[in-house]
C-alpha cells in the first residue's frame, strides 16, 4: 500500500523546506539577472531561469504529495540532477559563456554544493516513501 502523502511528512518536510529555499533563491537570482543586465550572460541567465522553474516544480510537487505529483517530482528532480551535472561541467569547460554564475555553476559551489546533493537526497526520499 503506497501512502501518497508520505513525501511531505517527517524528514520530507525539511527536504521540502530546503527545496523551497532553493526555489526562492534561484527565482530571485534569475529575476534580478534578467531584469538588470540580460545581455551580459544570456546563456547563464536563461539557465538560471530554467533552474528556478525546476526548483519551483519540485517544491510544489513534493509538498502536494499525491500519486500524480510524485511522478512530477521524480521527473523534476531527475532533470535537476542532469541540469546541475551538465551546467557544472559546462561552466568549467566553457567559462566564457558563464561570466556570471547560476545556482548550478561549478556544481553549486556558491551554494555550498547543496545543489548537487539535493537531487540525490530527493530521489532517495521518493524511493523510500514509495516502499512504505
Amino acid at each position: 500500500m503506497v501512502d501518497a502523502t508520505a513525501t511531505r511528512q517527517g524528514p520530507g518536510r525539511v527536504l521540502i523546506a530546503v527545496y523551497g529555499l532553493f526555489a526562492l533563491a534561484a527565482t530571485s537570482r534569475a529575476a534580478v539577472q534578467i531584469a538588470t543586465d540580460f545581455s551580459a550572460a544570456p546563456v547563464a541567465y536563461v539557465l538560471s531561469a530554467v533552474a528556478a522553474v525546476i526548483y519551483c516544480a519540485a517544491t510544489f510537487a513534493l509538498a502536494r504529495a499525491t500519486r500524480v505529483s510524485r511522478k512530477v517530482a521524480t521527473a523534476a528532480i531527475v532533470v535537476e540532477l542532469v541540469g546541475v551535472l551538465a551546467i557544472g561541467a559546462f561552466s568549467y569547460a566553457v567559462p566564457e559563456d558563464f561570466p556570471d554564475a547560476t545556482v548550478w555553476s561549478h556544481f553549486g559551489q556558491g551554494y555550498l554544493f547543496i545543489p548537487v546533493v539535493l537531487p540525490v537526497l530527493g530521489l532517495l526520499w521518493l524511493r523510500r516513501t514509495a516502499s512504505d
Partner: protein, 118 residues
C-alpha cells in the same frame, strides 16, 4: 549598513538555530520559546528593512539597489514561511524546518553586508 543591527540579527538567528537543533535532537516539538525568539528576529528584520532603505537613499556608495532590496525583502519572508511550514508538522522535524529557516538569516545578512561593503 547599521552594523549593530546586522550583528544582532546574525547572533540571535544562530542562537535560535542551535535551540531548534537541540529541540529536534531531543525529539521535542517546536515550543513558545523558539517562536518568541523568531518573533524578536522578525521584528529586527523589519527594522533592518526600514534602516536599509533609508540608508540606501542617502548613500553615495555604488550599491546595487535592486540586489540589496531583494535581500532585504527575502530575509523578511523566510521565517514566516518557515514557521507556517514547520507548525503543520507534529514531530521533531518541525523544529528541523525552523533550524533550516534560521540558518538562512545570517547568510542573507552577511551577503547584504558584502554587497554594502563593495
Amino acid at each position: 549598513m547599521f552594523e549593530p543591527l546586522t550583528w544582532a540579527l546574525v547572533a540571535l538567528s544562530l542562537v535560535a538555530m542551535v535551540y531548534a537543533i537541540v529541540l529536534a535532537a531531543r525529539d521535542r516539538r517546536i515550543d513558545w520559546w523558539l517562536l518568541g525568539l523568531l518573533g524578536v528576529v522578525e521584528v529586527l528584520l523589519l527594522a533592518q528593512l526600514v534602516v536599509g532603505i533609508v540608508q540606501l537613499t542617502g548613500t553615495d556608495r555604488d550599491v546595487s539597489a535592486v540586489l540589496f532590496c531583494a535581500y532585504l525583502i527575502g530575509s523578511l519572508i523566510i521565517l514566516p514561511i518557515g514557521a507556517f511550514w514547520a507548525l503543520a508538522e507534529r514531530s521533531r522535524w518541525g523544529a528541523g524546518v525552523l533550524a533550516v529557516a534560521c540558518v538562512v538569516v545570517p547568510i542573507l545578512e552577511l551577503r547584504m553586508y558584502e554587497i554594502w561593503a563593495v
